[in-house]
């Protein structure tokens, strides 16, 4: 299956390599560099590149290319999904997954990679098990290790791999037993010129942070489970229970994990919480264009909209923009032509707006495309689909845990065409 892995940074240096079968020369990456050159942007590098003797499958995350080398037929998603899992694991281990972090912890990274694959086939990909095998570095542990000479490698044998609940480590103990759930919904929408919705859907996730002693067995029920149209679960969720009762029943992994991601059926009308009024016009012959955006709340169920960010890729012909925002700060990068406006909170009494002029290339005709506006926002304490958690029960342990639930709505891929 997976022969080798190369990590390549933005400037094209291979800064880590790992082989699970016999060694593949790093010159194989030349094919990758070729493809990279051909694709103007990093994200346009094809994920699968055939070479005479190998196939290169890559993912691009955190400005690093993770290039896997395979030799024979294998489902491409298998490799891609695995590579993403590797990145997630690194992120879980080191907080961030960056080139510097990986270089600093190169031994841990190498050990983790060694455990994740055996002969190119995934062996342990659950972060709970991996953490039992190889402890993630913390400042405290680094200090202790240097003093006592002890190690990152778990001195106990990893029993987790043998467990029937492979995602949970055994012998978990906490003084404060807590279980927190975040219901986060993202609105993906395309709004057309006139402000009507072309497509809008809600994608939600429930992220959990569970720190409970022992082997708790949790059930989570919803007030209105019918809203959930399409769901995918963490492997810990008992599927049959969901099928029959629409209840999430599971023995949780320890720590942070994504319990559920769901999609709210497209039949339900999606409430769009913001609107954007825009007036962007270029005139023929004139080197000035007008630019005006106003953002306002629409259906917010009485909640405030926070963290509003407006970003827009301006046409190439725009040389510069002189704008005045009624609130927040804005930046226009004349090189990438990217305008971004950090609005902050929306005050319904005084709607934020950004007005001004654009200076266009002299002599050039007016650009025939209008920029699209990408919107970011957050609404706390609201799940826009109306999903509500009914209750959380725990079985199997005697203590009473703290339980908490938080709702949030965010903009996903929220785009306004102008």
């Amino acid at each position: 299956m997976i022969h080798s892995l190369f990590l390549i940074n933005a400037s094209g240096d291979i800064f880590l390599e790992k082989h699970w079968k016999s060694v593949v020369s790093r010159s194989v990456c030349d094919y990758f560099f070729e493809a990279q050159e051909r694709a103007s942007e990093a994200e346009n590098v094809p994920p699968v590149i055939p070479t005479p003797h190998h196939y290169l499958l890559s993912v691009y995350r955190h400005k690093i290319f993770f290039v896997a080398v395979i030799q024979t037929e294998v489902p491409p998603l298998f490799v891609i999904e695995f590579l993403h899992r590797v990145v997630d694991t690194f992120q879980d281990y080191f907080g961030v997954c960056s080139e510097v972090m990986i270089k600093d912890n190169v031994v841990v990274v190498y050990e983790v990679l060694e455990e994740m694959l055996d002969n190119g086939f995934p062996l342990a990909t659950e972060s709970n098990i991996l953490k039992e095998l190889i402890k993630p570095p913390t400042i405290l542990r680094t200090v202790v290790n240097t003093i006592t000479g002890s190690t990152n490698v778990g001195d106990q044998l990893p029993t987790g791999q043998l467990s029937v609940v492979p995602w949970r480590r055994t012998g978990v103990k906490y003084t404060n037993n807590e279980a927190y759930f975040d219901v986060i919904e993202e609105i993906d929408a395309i709004i057309d010129k006139s402000g009507s919705t072309i497509t809008a859907e809600i994608q939600g996730v429930i992220d959990a942070c569970v720190k409970l002693t022992g082997m708790p067995d949790l059930t989570l029920s919803f007030m209105n489970p019918r809203l959930l149209d399409d769901v995918s679960f963490h492997p810990c969720v008992r599927f049959k229970r969901w099928e029959s009762e629409r209840i999430l029943s599971f023995i949780p992994p320890d720590g942070n994990f994504r319990l559920l991601s769901y999609h709210v059926s497209a039949q339900n009308l999606v409430a769009i919480p913001v609107y954007v009024k825009h007036n962007i016009s270029f005139r023929d012959g004139s080197s000035l264009g007008r630019f005006e955006i106003t953002v306002g709340p629409k259906q917010t169920m009485g909640k405030t909209i926070e963290g509003v960010m407006v970003a827009s890729q301006m046409p190439k012909g725009v040389l510069n923009m002189s704008l005045t925002p009624s609130q927040g700060t804005h930046i226009f990068d004349p090189v990438t032509k990217l305008l971004s406006w950090d609005v902050g909170k929306i005050n319904p009494q005084k709607l934020p707006s950004l007005k001004g002029t654009m200076s266009l290339q002299a002599g050039a005709s007016k650009p025939d495309e209008n920029p699209t506006i990408n919107l970011q926002f957050k609404i706390q304490q609201l799940a826009i689909s109306g999903l509500k958690v009914n209750r959380l029960d725990m079985y199997g342990e005697k203590y009473k845990p703290f339980k908490g639930i938080k709702y949030m709505t965010k903009a996903g891929k929220f785009q306004v065409r102008t």
């Binding site: 994200e43 489902p75 998603l77 055996d118 025939d368």
Partner: protein, 1110 residues
């Protein structure tokens, strides 16, 4: 080779060892001496006695390896430490060893004995890790040792070691392929393993070593299907892909009767199949050769067991299931995968890329599947270009007459994008839409012509190319466009576009007789500066003009041909020579000359614009080969369906200790049942018009599988009880106690005969078990499984073929089928147990490994599986919406002498009997003495009414409150249920009268279904009432809340803004109740209730109006 190369690298690279310098420049290789000194340093550290120094050294060495630098000269120093006590040093040494053993084979042999010792260690994890490292050392000399170790590990006690053995198989195979035969033996052995831990790894080994030995799978097929859901995700992918191939060789195509359906493509597959058989019978027996298609139960098993995996979080698993369905499922069922695939489009762009490629292929074959998700493929300006182009491909494939206008409107926005490659692709997509859908051809053409005046040359050029293709279809009407394009030759520089225009003018020069020669004149002038393809087309144009209009163009043609004669490109020279001979008559030129005009101006067929994804589906979807559209190394061809089904009996298993797994299987079968019927239901409106036999057979399947699974559970209990008697005895006793109470009760009240039937079943089960012990229980139970399967389609022939114990079994199964509800009452017993005993049990593993040592926990899950059945049998019933629950008083504190009882309708499905309404009763003891043995006695229900009492409360301390649930079947009437509430001293007569809204349970349906059902329930069954909504009750939220609090109904999605729809089924008879509330102008509104139960309808209208108006 690798060594040599790495060595030269090392010269330069290692000089900067230890420092964060990651580039490798061979130029700085000067400092040889210090280089070796450094390594001496490391060697010294490795030789020291301190573990910390060794560790430090190893860490530095591993860091070197990670950076791709050579550390091979340290081999002797490192290998010495292989037996080090420190576990991290040891691990790092292993890492080093695996990396360099291949290069230093002799030295590597020194370490072997350590691993051999490790293989004998009592600790399974040490055994496993020793095997893992040993098998990773690629030294051919140790092949025999590895072989021996693998063989031994394959029969290890620990499944983890066996898993490692499975991993080791492909390693050994790649080292020495001569071992194949021996390895196949090991694989065969491991395939028979029953643990989920091993399954994925061994199938992986199978795929790498001997994918052609499909016969090894037969005996393990059912087991693999059943284990699948519990296997780790990566293993699932491998197994599913392998099973897809397997199924293609072993089963018949489920779509083989496709041709019959061609005339009515919309028709559900099953229905017409059934009809077909009827016709056949009616006509003659001569048509026997075309047997009606019956799906092999094993085929069905695979489809059923993979379906839940569509919900996996792992994209690879979802894709694997999707391709399995695409390749194996009957057409009507393939649709289920669309939703899951669309979900994956939210994932990382690499995942999107792969998924979209597959969707593109699928959407050509099964367009209808993705049509509902059209909008999910709309393109955002932030998508990477490669994703945009793939989405465009899918959108184009999905275009049809109904949605083309929306798609074209989308395309219009895309054309103005800044991403020029994407714009070009959009124009081509428009062209494809235009060729495929005649209706919009003119619109598209006009749009494209407008694009010709676009400022961007690329856009214009692409449009020209597409217009050219479109014009070829109907040139006569479009001479205007051709003229317009002729003008463009002055400006357009893109060679392809120029060539296209010239070709057009040449081809249709008769339509533009005045312009054509002029264009040629211009082109002749610039001929030398043109690109090659343009030159060729100039020659072409010249030739055609010469033939049609030689008077005006003779000289020009001569001139062009002369220019071409001396061109640098030999293609152009050749072409010129060829054409001159052909068109200019000389003595030498033969007969061809006469036909020159025919040759050049022949009618040319219009090009067909096709998707590049057409016919890609001969590659297995989701595979690398499919993605690349070329066969990858090691790709296993997906075989075609066989014409005759191979013998299905090869999959029958005769291994004795099978009871466990088959009962599991049954459990799954039962639980997953709703899926099946669900998907049947999905097949739409034709279903209802379907022929009778289908629904009957389906019902019989439901009941039979139900029966069999409940029997399975009984068996299960017995069986496992036997196995671990002492452990379970206590719990069993408890269970029995609890089970008996409700059972007796239901016997009395309901008095259903099948109750005894069931008891008998248990006895029979016992008897049967004895038989099984004699015969080898595996045989019977596996047959049983197949019996229950085949009963779905041909229940008679299936059961007849069976042996006597199985026959008893089927009869028994049929008995409860007649009285459906009763088995559920018994399954309720285990439910309570599993819930109550959770605290006492070790927590039930949700994905149990059915290894023999964890009996108790897998028992729990088995029981748990049972609990699910009640609701799953009625798939469309939904868990209700919880509004504010109103409580009613059953017994006042005064009349009850300190005992007060309240009740409310919890709106949960009553687990013991779906035809009962669950009533939650809250009893609080306000006296200062203990109340003992609280129970219900002498229920005096009216005719047909049934009451399921709550289990007796033994005692209730003063001040305490107890909450119990009882079930009442009100027979869909609002008449009160009367009964006595008894304590150890007193009897109270009480009655519960249900509000009409509580006599129903919400049901989910789509808008279309709702409308359809509503259409059936008009006239007398429709009750309408006008009302005025008060101020506070006008918002969506308030209305929904009021209605759902008044009645236990579920909301139905509705397209219109001012309309609200709700649906429910009455609990007892299951008749539909449909509610529509239409908001008119102002506060006016109209409420409509459709139900065949007119009384319920009328009362419901009253209740809802009251709730809304208040």
């Amino acid at each position: 080779m690798a060594a040599g190369q790495a060595y030269s690298e090392e010269k330069g690279g290692s000089s900067s060892l230890g420092e964060p310098e990651y580039g490798h420049d061979p130029a700085s290789g000067g400092i040889f001496s210090s280089d070796y000194k450094r390594h001496d340093d490391l060697k010294e550290m490795l030789d020291s006695n301190k573990d910390s120094l060794k560790l430090e050294a190893m860490k530095r060495i591993v860091a070197m390896i990670a950076r791709g630098k050579n550390a091979s000269d340290l081999f002797p120093a490192v290998v010495k430490n292989v037996a080090c006590k420190n576990i991290e040093v040891k691990k790092l040494v292993y890492v080093y060893l695996v990396r360099y053993a291949e290069e230093q084979q002799d030295l590597a042999l020194l370490s072997i004995s350590t691993f051999q010792r490790g293989l004998k260690d009592p600790n399974q994890l040490i055994r496993a890790s020793a095997l893992r490292v040993l098998s990773s050392i690629r030294v051919p000399i140790i092949v025999p040792i590895m072989m021996l170790a693998i063989k031994e590990a394959a029969s290890d006690m620990s499944p983890y070691v066996r898993k490692t053995a499975a991993h080791a198989i492909p390693k050994l195979y790649s080292l020495d392929s001569d071992q194949k035969d021996q390895l196949i033996e090991v694989i065969e052995k491991l395939l028979a393993d029953k643990t989920t831990l091993v399954a994925g790894s061994v199938v992986m080994a199978f795929e790498e070593v001997c994918p052609e030995r499909i016969d090894l799978i037969h005996k393990n097929y059912r087991k693999l299907c059943n284990l699948l859901i519990d296997v780790e995700e990566w293993g699932q992918v491998v197994i599913i892909n392998m099973l897809t191939r397997y199924a293609r060789t072993q089963f018949l195509s489920p779509n083989q009767n496709e041709s019959l359906l061609e005339d009515s493509a919309e028709k559900a597959f099953y229905g017409s199949d059934e009809e077909d058989t009827k016709d056949d019978k009616a006509e003659a027996t001569s048509l026997v050769k075309r047997k009606p298609y019956v799906m092999d139960p094993d085929h069905r098993l695979l489809l059923r067991n993979t379906k839940p995996l569509l919900q996996s979080r792992n994209a690879a698993v979802v894709m694997a299931v999707a391709q399995l369905y695409f390749h194996l499922a009957p057409k009507a069922e393939v649709g289920v995968i669309a939703k899951a695939l669309v979900r994956l489009l939210r994932s990382h762009s690499e995942v999107q890329y792969v998924v979209l490629q597959n969707v593109a292929t699928m959407s050509i074959k099964r367009r209808g599947m993705f049509e509902p998700y059209l909008k999910s493929f709309y393109i955002r300006s932030t998508d990477p270009t490669q994703i945009k182009i793939l989405k465009l491909e899918v959108l184009t494939n999905l275009a049809n007459e109904t949605n083309i206008s929306t798609i074209l409107r989308e395309f219009q926005t895309y054309i103005r994008s800044m991403d020029k490659d994407f714009v070009a692709a959009t124009i081509q997509a428009i062209g494809r839409c235009a060729t495929n859908i005649g209706k919009v051809r003119d619109t598209c053409l006009n749009g494209l012509v407008q694009l010709l005046s676009n400022r961007d040359e690329l856009v214009v050029a692409e449009s020209v190319v597409v217009i050219k293709k479109l014009l070829q279809m109907q040139p006569a009407q479009h001479s205007e466009i051709i003229k317009h394009m002729a003008k463009l030759t002055d400006n357009i520089q893109v060679p392809m576009a120029r060539a296209s225009i010239l070709w057009l003018i040449g081809e249709y020069c008769e339509h533009v007789p005045k312009i054509a020669p002029d264009v040629l004149r211009k082109m002749a002038k610039s001929f030398t500066n043109e690109e090659d393809i343009v030159k060729l087309q100039v020659i072409n144009l010249a030739a055609k003009l010469y033939l049609t209009n030689s008077k005006q163009s003779k000289l020009l043609t001569q001139y062009v041909l002369n220019l071409a004669k001396y061109d640098q490109n030999y293609d152009i020279r050749d072409r010129a020579r060829f054409i001159r001979q052909l068109i200019v008559p000389t003595e030498k030129s033969g007969a061809l000359n006469k036909y020159a005009k025919k040759l050049f101006l022949a009618q040319k067929p219009a090009p067909i614009l096709e998707s590049s994804f057409k016919d890609r589906d001969h590659f297995q979807l989701g595979s690398l080969s499919h993605l690349l559209n070329a066969k990858a190394v090691g790709y296993q061809e997906l075989p075609d369906w066989p014409d005759e089904a191979p013998d299905p009996s090869v999959r029958n298993v005769e291994v004795p200790e099978w009871t466990k797994c088959t009962s599991r299987e049954k459990r799954k079968e039962k639980v997953e049942k709703p899926f099946y019927s669900d998907s049947e239901g999905e097949s739409g409106p034709t279903e209802s018009a379907d022929s009778e036999p289908e629904s009957v057979s389906e019902e019989s399947e439901t009941s039979s599988s139900e029966g069999s699974s409940s029997s399975g559970s009984e068996e299960e209990e017995e069986g496992s009880g036997d196995q671990s008697e002492d452990k379970e005895e206590e719990e069993k006793r408890k269970k029995k106690k609890e089970k008996e109470a409700p059972r007796k009760a239901s016997l009395e009240s309901a008095g259903s005969p099948s109750e005894e039937e069931e008891e008998e079943g248990v006895k029979k089960g016992k008897k049967k078990k004895q038989q099984q012990e004699r015969k080898g229980c595996g045989e019977t139970s596996s047959e049983e499984a197949s019996a229950s399967e085949s009963s779905s389609s041909e229940s008679d022939s299936g059961s007849e073929a069976q042996e006597s114990p199985a026959e008893v079994e089927t009869k028994r199964r049929k008995a409860p089928a007649s009285t459906k509800p009763s088995p559920r009452a018994t399954t309720a017993g285990p439910k309570e147990i599993s819930l109550l005993d959770l605290d006492d049990f070790t927590p039930p593993p949700p994905q149990p490994v059915p290894s023999s040592n964890i009996v108790s926990s897998s028992l729990v899950t088995d029981l748990e599986g049972l609990t699910l059945t009640d609701t799953s049998l009625a798939p469309a019933l939904l868990s209700p919406v919880f509004g504010s629950v109103r409580t009613y008083e059953l017994l006042h504190r005064m009349t009850g002498e300190g005992l007060s009882v309240e009740y409310c309708f919890s709106r949960r499905p009553f687990p013991h009997d779906p035809h009962m309404v669950a009533v939650q009763i809250q009893i609080s003891n306000n006296t200062d003495a203990e109340v003992k043995s609280l129970r219900i006695s002498e229920p005096k229900p009216l005719s047909g009414m049934r009451i399921q009492e709550f289990p007796e409360i033994e005692s209730l301390a003063p001040g305490d409150t107890a909450s119990v649930v009882m079930g009442i079947d009100f027979c869909d009437s609002t008449q009160a249920a009367n009964f006595q509430l008894c304590t150890h001293t007193r009897h109270f007569y009480v009655s519960i009268q249900p509000p009409v809204g509580e006599l129903m349970a919400p049901v989910f349906m789509s808008e279309n279904e709702f409308k359809k059902e509503q259409g059936k329930l008009t006239g007398m069954s429709e009750i309408t009432e006008k009302l005025t909504l008060p101020e506070k009750c006008r918002s969506d939220h308030a209305i929904v809340q009021q209605v759902t609090s008044a009645a236990n109904v579920g909301r139905v999605p509705c397209g219109a803004d001012n309309e609200y729809r709700f649906a429910a089924k009455t609990v007892t008879s299951g008749s539909l109740v449909l509610i529509t509330l239409e908001k008119r102008e102002g506060a006016a509104a109209q409420l409509t209730v459709n139900s065949e139960k007119m009384v319920i309808g009328t009362m419901l209208v009253k209740d809802i109006v009251q709730a809304l108006v208040q």
